[in-house]
């Protein structure tokens, strides 16, 4: 039972990790609190639905992140760059407004009906691990989620391009003086963040419902995770998402009456003990 509990919380956490990493990336490296991230995830899911219908799930998993990266490029040039001298909260609210608009456009195109993607055949059965039968898709989700985010963290931490990205995030002026093309790297970060939302959107298809409310459900949870993880730290976000997923799943089993409160309590406890979050700038910022 406990093993199953952990496995289940890992599945939820994997999706959250991907979303929160994207959010942490653009927050930690680009200094933007992107309230529109949920809308990007929703766009990823709907695009995933459309593309998967034509090309199948696997190609959608490849194409949609690329499409979202393009959206990220548009976001960078049309919004973030022109507004770079504005305060955090102003930019955050602009992304909120854009997220609302994007959501409405999606509803306009797809209508309000919920949709779903079927998992490809090899992922639809279940496997038996340690005597427990467990859906293959969940295993896949966990591997994908953890895998992509760990590689992201490794890239940032241990490669020189990762180092330059971190330098740009802390002081673009100094980075430029050192000969780093900060505009290019900012663009990379924004599009990478959007691409992560795209991956999460496609992966959510066979697991969760694709519907007009999906952005809002996720964004608050992801904000909580990013903040628990520590300002913009990817590794922190990974740990925080695992913690969050576990607390939420465990809460719904052991404290069903007050389960809805559990994530907020977690946030308050962590922040009151360590206002900088768990990652506390270990990886970035």
């Amino acid at each position: 039972m406990i093993a199953l509990l952990i496995a289940n919380s890992l599945a939820l956490a994997s999706l959250l990790i991907m979303l929160a990493s994207g959010l942490a990336l653009i927050y930690g490296l680009r200094d933007v609190i992107n309230f529109g991230h949920g809308a990007l995830y929703m766009l990823g899911a709907y695009l995933g639905y459309t593309v998967a219908k034509v090309t199948g799930f696997w190609l959608a998993l490849l194409i949609v992140p690329i499409l979202l990266a393009l959206v990220g490029i548009v976001l960078e040039f049309l919004v973030l760059r022109p507004l770079k001298s504005r305060s955090h909260i102003e930019v955050a609210l602009v992304t909120l407004g854009l997220g609302i608009i994007l959501g409405q456009i999606i509803i306009f195109i797809y209508g309000g009906e919920a949709r779903s993607i079927d998992a490809p055949a090899i992922l639809s059965g279940s496997v038996t691990v340690l005597g427990l039968s467990y859906p293959v898709y969940r295993v896949f989700l966990i591997l994908m989620g953890l895998g992509s985010c760990v590689s992201l963290a490794v890239w940032l931490r241990f490669t020189s391009s990762g180092l330059f990205v971190r330098a740009v995030s802390q002081d673009p002026g100094v980075a430029r003086m050192m000969g780093i093309n900060s505009d290019q790297l900012s663009l990379l970060v924004t599009s990478l963040s959007a691409a992560f939302a795209g991956i999460a959107g496609v992966l959510a298809g066979p697991y969760l419902s694709i519907d007009p409310g999906m952005d809002i459900v996720m964004i608050v949870d992801c904000l909580i995770i990013v903040v628990i993880g520590g300002t913009g730290s990817i590794a922190g976000a990974i740990i925080a998402a695992l913690l969050f997923g576990f607390v939420q799943v465990a809460g719904s089993v052991f404290l069903p009456n007050v389960a809805a409160l559990v994530p907020y309590v977690l946030l308050m406890i962590v922040l009151l003990i360590a206002p900088g979050g768990i990652g506390r700038g270990r990886v970035l910022n």
């Binding site: 407004g97 609302i100 308050m268």
Partner: protein, 334 residues
């Protein structure tokens, strides 16, 4: 000599002008505007008050609160529950609700103002969402009505006004108008007082403030209590006017609306957020009639913030300064 004479003449002139504006504004709309317009204006004022509380904390202490709604809605719930469950009179219930949420704000503030701005924002968000969930818990369903909320109607009078009077836009307008003036002027004077200056300095360099002998904690707690008191007044007026409370009034949506209104109007000063509240209320109504509230709201947020970096009021003031240089020059610039 001359400068002294003219400034001592200017102060009473400003007070007289303010008094006239206040008097006219309190009376005229009742004759000129339709019930429907007044109703929207009332809501705009109350949202403006909430926006003012958010804006004050932002511009003075550099902290963004995303939990204003929990105070706003919470005071309404307490007011309703105090009457229906504990049999208080409406007047006593108002005082009780006000004091209770302000006390809650004080405790919360004492815990969270020390953290960094992002943590503060998320802590207020978390505290607010927690309250929204608590209200919907099964255990308190009988008190709060769960997701359905409560219809609040009271018997008896508050300051001589019956429930029906508060619900009547004509009668409510002067109350809202007066509250807005009192609070607007109060916050404006606080921001010009020593407390305001201390808060702004703490926001820029907390450590240097401590090394200058200031207590940097208490002023921020005081500021947080102050803005919560404003939010509570707004919430109580709202419940009197609307006659019901629901979990939505505690939620993130209301808090973001207040934030958006504040930024639309301009966070510096008292007029901006109030104007923002009015703009927001009327705009939402128009958008609704056009059948696309959400889309147009999103577009308006983007447009207003992009076009008016210091809010509509900030933008207007800057424009007036440009056309009439010399008007109200900041001190010391030559």
């Amino acid at each position: 000599m001359l400068g002294h004479a003219s400034s001592s003449f200017r102060v009473p002139a400003a007070i007289v002008a303010g008094a006239i504006l206040f008097g006219l504004g309190g009376v005229l709309p009742g004759y000129l505007a339709s019930d429907f317009t007044l109703k929207l204006a009332n809501e705009g004022l109350l949202l403006g008050l909430l926006a003012l509380s958010v804006a004050f904390l932002m511009s003075e202490a550099g902290l963004v609160a995303l939990g204003a709604a929990s105070i706003y809605g919470g005071s309404g719930y307490l007011f309703a529950i105090a009457m229906s469950e504990w049999g208080m009179s409406p007047g006593a219930a108002i005082v009780f609700a006000f004091l209770a949420v302000v006390a809650y704000g004080a405790v919360l503030g004492a815990l969270i103002v020390r953290t960094n701005p992002l943590a503060f924002m998320m802590l207020t968000l978390a505290a607010g969402e927690m309250i929204r969930h608590v209200v919907m818990l099964e255990a308190v369903h009988d008190y709060t009505g769960g997701a359905d909320g409560l219809v609040v109607s009271f018997k008896g009078a508050i300051l001589g006004m019956q429930a029906a009077d508060f619900a009547n836009p004509q009668h409510f307008w002067p109350i809202g108008w007066t509250a807005v003036w009192l609070i607007g002027v109060t916050l404006w004077s606080v921001s010009r007082s020593r407390l305001g200056a201390t808060l702004r300095a703490v926001r820029q360099n907390e450590e240097r403030m401590r090394f200058s002998g200031f207590n940097t904690y208490v002023p921020r707690v005081v500021a947080y209590i102050l803005v919560n008191a404003v939010a509570a007044v707004s919430g109580l007026l709202h419940v009197l006017n609307a006659g019901f409370v629901s979990p939505e009034s505690l939620g993130l949506g209301v808090s973001t609306n207040a934030l958006v209104a504040a930024l639309m109007g301009g966070t510096a000063g008292s007029v901006g957020p109030l104007a923002g509240g009015l703009i927001f209320a009327f705009a939402q109504d128009e958008f609704g009639a056009r059948g696309a509230t959400q889309l147009l709201t999103g577009a308006a947020i983007v447009l207003f913030i992009v076009v008016f970096p210091r809010g509509v009021v900030g933008g207007l003031v800057a424009a007036v300064r440009r056309v009439l240089p010399g008007i109200d020059r900041p001190r010391g610039k030559t």
